[in-house]
Structure formats: structure tokens, C-alpha cells
Symmetry: C2
Subunit: 443 residues, 2 copies
């Protein structure tokens, strides 16, 4: 299918009718801020639609799930929203009843300020786990940020920065497409870095058969001016997340706070998209593209990451097996450290396949390396037997910043892809913690 959209500059404020705002209010309580931005990274942001929008969301399936996730999972069911308040520096996770009260209060403060029903306000948090929110600072921040909305500056860059934690750079994208003859835009921002192997569902509840090893805080906020019914939007988001955020891993750890939210405010004035609309596929393609590009940005900017590896498993008995196999490889410490060294160590790969819950028959397994997007597969193992490819040839592919790994189990038609990363000394150094600073507890 030819791409039916084009990439444009900007992100969440590219679609009509969206505004952003971001401030520093010292949520980590560094004790230096007085609401000013003097030298401190912004830590609180607002995304606001000028008109009420339909909303859809996907949330972590971690059984330990943060208060803001619970609030959003409940409110998206209403299908309507107009604003998002989000902070970094504190995850508001494992904070009990006070945490729930604080999450609701964040939306109530903004609701009063913007004259919106608080039920139409979503909330997101990322940062430290197990510490109650510094509500004085948050209140000051929300009021400061709301004031910013009166300016003509749209602040998308500042919002993308405000949600960062261990990210080294902001992650943004915007695209433009035609829906029923109308110009539609989709914009998105996200943050990731560590504790990244999302497994999200629409309710935050795990599916009956929980995918093996679903295990980041990743936050993603998408805006669009398309007109779409809430149910259709949720279905599109579910499909988009399934092929993007739920297919990445940095360190195999699934966060308590993973959240993706989409606001669609209808200002493009297309005929409202609903189940069965012939233009739905075009919007789906656009939304999936936005999610996939943002998801890949998370892996490439993962903590300490130097290599981006696309792992493709084909020929599994079924999807569950393919998924289990691809995650065993993508989360193996030994496989990941070998990638760091640029070492095409397929012995570790087949070892990981063998201990995965997927059915594997040694005599059937193919393992091949390829340049990104290339159809030219260079085999290291064919039907369980070492291929004659010179080790040097494999090394050349594995030495690149990005490459693909093609695994065929030759047992069936199940396939799965995982966008994975190497494991580096920098990752360990970054995460070993600073016991002089309890705020280093990620979440």
C-alpha cells in the first residue's frame, strides 16, 4: 500500500485546535525551584483542545498500576475529553488512597482553571515510585501552565521536553493526510528510556492469556483534528499500539505507568469516521505509523542503547509461540551484551530460543542476519546446522548501528516482530542507583 500521508514539522500542536504548555515546578523537590524555569528541566505539561474531543487510551497491564493510570482507564470509557495534565519526577505509583486523591485533584485543579468538567481531563505521571505527590508544587505548576495557554505560542517542544525523564532527547512526530477530502493532521510525543517493555490493553486489565513476559514507563500523547467516533478511535488505537509500543523492549521491564492517549477534536470537519467507514483504513495507517515511529524512537533512545535490532520470528506454531520466542531473544542478557560488542553470536540466540516457552525443533531452525529493510538474508544457521557464511560476513552486519535478525522456526505460520536494543555498561552505570538520592527510584 502506498503511503497516504506525509510527514510534516511539529507534533501535538500541528493538528487544528490544540495548545500546549509546560513549566518547571520542582516535582522531584530538588528544593531550588520557585515556579521559575531557571536552568531546570520543565516537569509539568498541559495538552489542551479548544473544543471537546473524543478520547481513546491504552494502559499498562502491570498489576501494580499507578493512580493516574487508574483514573484515565476509568475516564476514557466516557469517550470524551478535552485536556491532559502530565508530570515527570514522580510516578504517583504505590501511593495508596492518597495517590488516587492526588491524581483526581490534579484534574480538578485544571478543570476549575479551564472551566471544564474534571471528567474531561486526563492525567499522566512518570518518575519516582512510592512517594506521594508534592501537591503544593503541582498546584502551582498547573496554574502557571494554564496561564501560559493564553499566549499565542503553542509550546509543543516544551511539552515534549517536560515529559522526559532519562530520555536524552524529546520525541515528536506529525503527519498530514486526506480524509474524505479534508486535510487531517495527527501529532504525537512520547517519552521512554528505561523500564521499557510495554504490554498495554484498553482497560489496564491483562488478557486471559497474558502474553509471555510482557514487561518502561513510556508515555505517549497523540492529538488529531480528525472527526471520529470514540469507539472507532479506541479500535484504531488498539490496533496501532499492538503493532508499535507493544512490540518494543529496552530492558524487559514493564512499568506501572505506561499510557497512550489520543484526543481527536473533529476540527478537520471530515464526515465523522465510524466502524465501517471506508476512510477508516487511511486513518488507521496514519495512526499506526505515528505510533510505530514514536515506539522506535523510544528504543533508539533507550538507556545506554547503542544498537537497534529488529527481530523477526516466522514459522512458529502460532502467534503466542512467535511472541514468546522473539521476546526470549530480545530480552536475553547474553544476546543483548553480544549485540553491544557487535558480535553475531547466534549460539546465544538459539540457546534463548530453546529455553523460551515456544515450541522449537533444533533441526528446523534458521537464523539469518540482514541490513535494515534488506531482503538479502545472510544465514548463520540453516535447519539447525551452522551455515558456511564466514564469521567476518556476519560481523559486518552486526557491526552496524541497526540490523535485522530473521529467525524461522519452520513449524507453522505464526510470526512476530520485536524492536530491541543492546545491553551496555552505560545502562548498568545509569541504573545502579545513587543511594545518596532516594529520588533515583525509577517508575
Amino acid at each position: 500500500m502506498a503511503k497516504t500521508f506525509k510527514i510534516i514539522p511539529g507534533s501535538i500542536t500541528a493538528p487544528s485546535g490544540f495548545l500546549g504548555a509546560a513549566v518547571f515546578c520542582d516535582i522531584k523537590r530538588l528544593g531550588t525551584g520557585k515556579g521559575s524555569n531557571k536552568g531546570k528541566k520543565r516537569d509539568l505539561a498541559l495538552i489542551v483542545s479548544e473544543v471537546p474531543a473524543t478520547v481513546a487510551g491504552m494502559f499498562t497491564t502491570n498489576q501494580i498500576c499507578a493512580a493516574p493510570v487508574k483514573v484515565c482507564a476509568e475516564r476514557v470509557r466516557g469517550g470524551e475529553a478535552q485536556a491532559i495534565v502530565v508530570n515527570s519526577g514522580n510516578a504517583n505509583a504505590c501511593t495508596g488512597k492518597q495517590g488516587m486523591k492526588d491524581a483526581y485533584e490534579m484534574t480538578a485543579i485544571l478543570g476549575r482553571e479551564l472551566h471544564m468538567p474534571e471528567q474531561h481531563i486526563m492525567v499522566g505521571s512518570t518518575g519516582r515510585i512510592g512517594v506521594t505527590m508534592p501537591m503544593e508544587n503541582l498546584k502551582r505548576g498547573i496554574l502557571d501552565a494554564a496561564w501560559q495557554l493564553n499566549s499565542t505560542v503553542k509550546n509543543a517542544d516544551a511539552v515534549a521536553e517536560a515529559i522526559m525523564t532519562s530520555d536524552t532527547r524529546p520525541k515528536q512526530i506529525a503527519i498530514e493526510l486526506q480524509v474524505g477530502g479534508k486535510r487531517v493532521r495527527v501529532g504525537g510525543i512520547c517519552k521512554g528510556a528505561g523500564m521499557i517493555q510495554p504490554g498495554m490493553s484498553a482497560t489496564g486489565k491483562r488478557p486471559a492469556a497474558a502474553p509471555q513476559g510482557l514487561h518502561a514507563t513510556m508515555l505517549c500523547f497523540i492529538t488529531t483534528d480528525v472527526a471520529i467516533e470514540a469507539k472507532a478511535l479506541q479500535a484504531c488505537l488498539q490496533e496501532a499500539v499492538a503493532v508499535s509500543f507493544n512490540r518494543i523492549t529496552v530492558d524487559g521491564d514493564m512499568s506501572t505507568n505506561d499510557t497512550v492517549l489520543v484526543l481527536a477534536n473533529g476540527l478537520a470537519e471530515n464526515a465523522v469516521l465510524k466502524k465501517g467507514s471506508k476512510d477508516l483504513a487511511v486513518f488507521q495507517e496514519a495512526l499506526s505509523h505515528v505510533c510505530l515511529e514514536l515506539a522506535k524512537k523510544i528504543v533508539r533512545d533507550g538507556e545506554g542503547v547503542t544498537r537497534f535490532v529488529t527481530i523477526r520470528v516466522n514459522g512458529a506454531r502460532n502467534f503466542a509461540d512467535a511472541d514468546a520466542a522473539v521476546r526470549a531473544v530480545g530480552n536475553s542478557s547474553l544476546v543483548k551484551t553480544s549485540w553491544f560488542g557487535g558480535d553475531p553470536n547466534w549460539g546465544r540466540i538459539i540457546d534463548a530460543l530453546g529455553y523460551s516457552p515456544a515450541k522449537i525443533v533444533e533441526e528446523k531452525v534458521d537464523i539469518a542476519y540482514a541490513a535494515p529493510g534488506s531482503k538479502k538474508l545472510v544465514y548463520s544457521l540453516k535447519r539447525g546446522q551452522p551455515a558456511s557464511t564466514p564469521f567476518k560476513t556476519l560481523c559486518q552486519i552486526a557491526a552496524e548501528k541497526e540490523f535485522e535478525l530473521h529467525i524461522n522456526l519452520n513449524l507453522g505460520k505464526g510470526s512476530a516482530v520485536l524492536y530491541a536494543a543492546d545491553l551496555t555498561e552505560e545502562y548498568v552505570d545509569f541504573n545502579k542507583g545513587d543511594v545518596t538520592d532516594p529520588s533515583s527510584m525509577g517508575g
Copy 2:
């Protein structure tokens, strides 16, 4: 139960009638050895009983399983053996039909030399995956080593060294006990270091409900002069491995070669132990102790390991849940890196519990730290709420080389323990591979 055994010096040659031999025969083909030991670590060893012994074994449940594992799994069913030939430097895994032929041939060479039926000879390998065995070197090595058996030196230390790969030190133990009025000895050696999360079964087949995440090459050889029926020995070994080697993890990767073998030659002349013998419990306790001490040595000497953490999960719905929970914590990159930093980061621990397949209810979870063996639990989380323990107090415990983590899910009676390790820059550095040396492919 008071301990009914005492620790004595030595290892596999402490029990009556066992001999060892070890040589360097350049299995990694460094190209420098001519059967001499000049400056090179020994890489081939023999363990031989003067008389036929009963045998029991436990093997990796990795679906990709090395040729020597297949040979042993088949031969232990015969219940009788007299010798073990073992090499480091090449795992003889993913080597197809040639690999099977080579494994059989190793036992045949030794059988001819020692005038034993080759069916009574077991074989073990550890090292590189996917490269056929250098049989010329192996043959020379086996003949050299067999010649050594004529000496009066028992060579236990040399055997313990010969099986090492990335281990920094040999691992040995011997104990003495009384069985039916007779002095019985049990000795053991093992190797580990990386690719360590064994999940072994008697047949090498996975149990119907494969324990979650079972994932080293670890090799362990145990000798004893007790008289015991093969079936009873297998049952005792199964129980001993269940509470020792199958309860450790270094990096969460299960090897293709994990093997534990026991030879019991009966020279202690006790009344033959069988199912129902009242002295079986005493032997079981001794064997379990030998396995547990060797298993802990593997974790403490794991690649780059600086901290040894005993994780205890109690109050799970059942054992499967407790096991899933304890492995999620013990294999989380974020939890392991925080241990490296001496950081009691319980936020990451509850996050890992939350994404594990085990049922978790946030409001019920307790997390506490303790000094090794101490009953004094210092809580960081009680019933899902951060405890009032000062962060400094937790840091003091987590700063030690060894500590215990007590997790209570408060949902049932399932419990499980896991002996785990930190994840360090040294691990990454060691495993990132050296692409100038394809023999760095571990297995």
C-alpha cells in the same frame, strides 16, 4: 533437624574408590598446545570409580540441547556407570549428527582405554556452541588423562579446574556422614559463571507445565561411596536439584548443556539404600547440602557478580505463582542493576512483581530486607504502602555483599526461594564478545 554430616577437605576423590585426571589438549584450538600443560588451563578431565557405580542425572530442559546431554540422558536410564569424561572449550551443541557421533566416540575412546563398556561412561561438555569437536585433540587428551589414572595422585583440584570456563575459581565440597553405622562420603565439583538459570529434569524433557522463565552452562559432578539403588539415587538427586541448582539465577539464560551427574559406588558397604530405607533421609540431607552449597558457589562466582541476594517469596496463591514472582524479581535488569549500586530500590521490585505472571494484589504486598539468615525483617513496603523505615536503614542492609529480600504476597501458602545476583558493568564487558575471536561464543 540437626545436621547429621560434617564438612571435610577435598571433593570428588574424598569418597572411597574415586580417581580423577585432567590435562590440557587445546580444545579451543588456541594452536599452542601439544598435549602439554605449559601455561594453559586444563580442558579435559576424567572422573573414574574403581568399581561400577549406580548413576543418576539431571539435565537442561532447553529444547536446544547438546549432544553430550542427549547421550547422558539416555545412559542414566541404565542405572549403572563407572566413569565421566568432560571437556571445557567446546559445548558440542548445535553440531547435528556429527556432534552425536563425537560424544559417543569420546566415551568409546575412554571405554577402550579403561576396558569398560562405553555404555557405562558419561560425557559432559561446556564452551563454544555450534562448532564441531576437535576430535584429534580430544582423543590425545583422553589417552593422556587415562594414563594419569595410574598415578597415586587423585587430581580432584585439577579436575575442578579443567571444567572451568569463565569461572574465576574452582568449586568443590566434600562431606562425611554415617549411614547405618558406616562412614559415607559425598564429594562434588561444579562450574558455572554465565548463562546460568538452570531448569533441569531427569529426562531433559520439560514438565507439562514448564516453570516460567526457566533459563547457564552449569556442570556438576558428584561422587559418593554410599551403597544405593539407582532409582532411589535418582529420586534423591531430583529432590536435591529442585532445592539447589534449579533455584539459582545469574543472568536468566538457561544453557543447552546443564548437567548434574552422581556416581555412587557402594564402597562404604552400608546396607543398600532403597525407597523406604530409614537412612535415606540422612543421605538426602547430605546430598541436598552438597548441591545447595555448590549452587550458591556458582551464583557468588557468576560473571561480574558483586552481590548475592536470597529472594524469598511467601504468601503466593501456589508454588507456580511464587516461582514466577521470585524469577521476575531475580531476573529484572532494573532490580539487578540497583543491587549493584547497593540501592534498596523496592519500587523496581514491586514493578517486577506486578508484571510477573503471578497474581499480585497491590494492597497486600509486603517487602522487607534482612541480613543473611536474620529473622529481623526491615520493611520497605507493608500492605502496599511505603513503610516508615528510613531510606538509610535499607541502604545499610543493601550495601552488604549478601542480603535477603522477603516478599509476602499475602494471598495464599505458595512459597519459593531464588539465589540471585546483581548485574554489573563487568558482566556486560565480559559478555560483549570479541569479534576477532569467534570462539568467544559461550555455551
